[in-house]
């Protein structure tokens, strides 16, 4: 059996909702059934085989080739299996996913891992704004799982994030950890302005101090040796990421905030 592969015939002009194409939903379908499924593109519907060349038959292992950033909702509600995207992915990658793995060899759009519940997403590239966030009007962002971004993330990474982990090997944009409820975001690169804006709880772990300093609404709690850090860093060892090479450390400067709110969040900066 080889990976069930969807090769984009031509870059679509309109956005395509790819949510019907996940391992769980295709497992019982024949290739003809899959070809006959309809996808919403812009304000119309098109058959899958009008948009994609279909090859392979193993639905547990999906692959999108020639993907562009118009392909939204890839891995929507994924529960098991793996999806590989060669090219860029659009918005809402891995929304509501509960398990399995998505790998993007390219960039992903906004709302990557939106309200994700479990599993793993790896972006070998950059991710857009609102990684792991909640939809507009919703209170809970990501509630579990791990997101690894080898490049940079856009603004408001982890907005309303509730649990789980976002690991950014590059830089994070402005308002990283905004309105965060809990969970962990670790960043090897730099962070933008307004780090932890309106953050309630949770941890922002930085391996380098922000150039612009810590925001005024975070209070310095001093330098500390925190026992959970070596444990957490050791758990990164199993990841396919630069984080696996991170030398375990426990010494950090701890800043608590956002003190304009409940102020239970923390920014930990490696010393």
């Amino acid at each position: 059996m080889s990976a069930l592969t969807f090769t984009l015939k031509a870059a679509p002009a309109q956005r395509v909702d790819c949510s019907p194409l996940t391992s769980d939903k295709l497992a019982e379908l024949s290739t003809a059934d899959i070809a006959a499924l309809t996808l919403v593109i812009g304000n119309q519907k098109q058959r899958v085989d009008e948009l994609f060349d279909i090859s392979g038959d193993d639905a547990a292992e999906l692959c999108f080739e020639n993907a562009t950033d118009k392909l939204d909702h890839i891995g929507h509600g994924l529960a098991s299996g793996s999806i590989t995207v060669n090219g860029n992915a659009g918005a809402y990658l891995g929304q509501f996913m509960t398990g399995g793995q998505i790998t993007v060899n390219g960039n992903s759009g906004i709302y990557t891992a939106c309200e994700m519940k479990g599993g793993q997403i790896k972006i070998n590239g950059n991710a857009g704004d609102l990684v792991g966030a909640a939809r507009v009007g919703y209170k809970n962002g990501m509630t579990g799982g791990t997101v690894i971004v080898t490049g940079n993330t856009g603004d408001r990474t982890g907005d309303h994030m509730r649990r789980g982990m976002i690991l950014i090997e590059g830089n994070a944009g402005d308002y990283c950890g905004s309105r965060m409820v809990s969970g962990t975001i670790a960043i090897l690169g730099e962070v933008g302005q307004h780090l932890g804006y309106a953050m309630k709880r949770g941890t922002l772990l930085l391996t380098q101090a922000p150039k612009q300093g810590i925001s005024a609404n975070f209070n310095d709690c001093g330098s500390h040796t925190l026992a959970f850090l070596p444990l957490m860093i050791a758990s990164f060892k199993q990841l396919d990421s630069k984080f696996a090479e991170l030398e375990p450390f426990a010494r950090v400067q701890r800043y608590a905030g956002d003190i304009s709110g409940i102020g239970m969040g923390e920014v930990l900066v490696k010393l």
């Binding site: 962990t184 709880r201 444990l231 957490m232 758990s235 375990p248």
Partner: protein
Amino acid sequence: MIINGVTIDPTFAEAFPMRGTRVIITAQNLEWAMNSAQAFTGFATSVIACGCEAGIERTLEPHETPDGRPGVSCLIFAMGNKGLAKQVETRAGQCVLTSPTSALFSGLEMDEEGKEIPLGKNLRFFGDGYQISKKINGKRYWRIPVMDGEFLTEENTGVRASVGGGNFLILAESQPQALAACEAAIVEMKKIPNVIMPFPGGVVRSGSKVGSKYKALSASTNDAFCPTLKGQTKSELSPEVESVMEIVIDGLTKEDIDKAMRVGIQAVCDLGAENGIRRISAGNYGGKLGPFHFHLQEIMA
């Protein structure tokens, strides 16, 4: 059966099902991990009055512990999950949370039944709202702010159906000889994993029988093995035996206790008749009370 002049009685030890768990206490150095572990396993010789039986299993090298610091593994047993949970929680709260630089981890995975009891789950409330939870590798941990920094504890620990009350009796010609034999046995038995000998130094001198002449008591001194009563009661002791001591073993499985009893009895027999050891016997209640029977001669066969 006679080994090196020591008679192995054709009898058996009778043991009971218990629920057990292992916890790992780490600290800045072994001394402080041990301070905490000794407190955690203190006053835990017998479920009759202590509510649990606990002991130190062994010390752990830094590479063996979850956080890479020196540590001590402790086993704790009680009659049921509820009682065990209560003992683990109160002891963790008073003896580990309080101990400088300590951290507390589960030393036992969840079993097939998925049974777990709280370890730091309720200690978190000591954090008065400042506690922070972190889920690492699927396990939840709690970070509780304390005066020396932060107390890190795992949320839950797994429990196992275990065996408590494995035992054997050492019958010797004098008190010092009986104790020396017990000491030799304990040294060997401590090398066996998954078992503890919960009594002080691993040895009991007040073995009990079921029942008493006093209505209020359910157990009383085992007069058949009391050397001073040889002429007063239906004694088990021959004229040469002047002192009897017992070693009680709790373990995670029957096989673990088998192993511990074998090395312990062997160590006693190695001292042999020339060191005043006469007989090895065991305590039972006729086999009606406990489902686990440890036949001495089978173990030593």
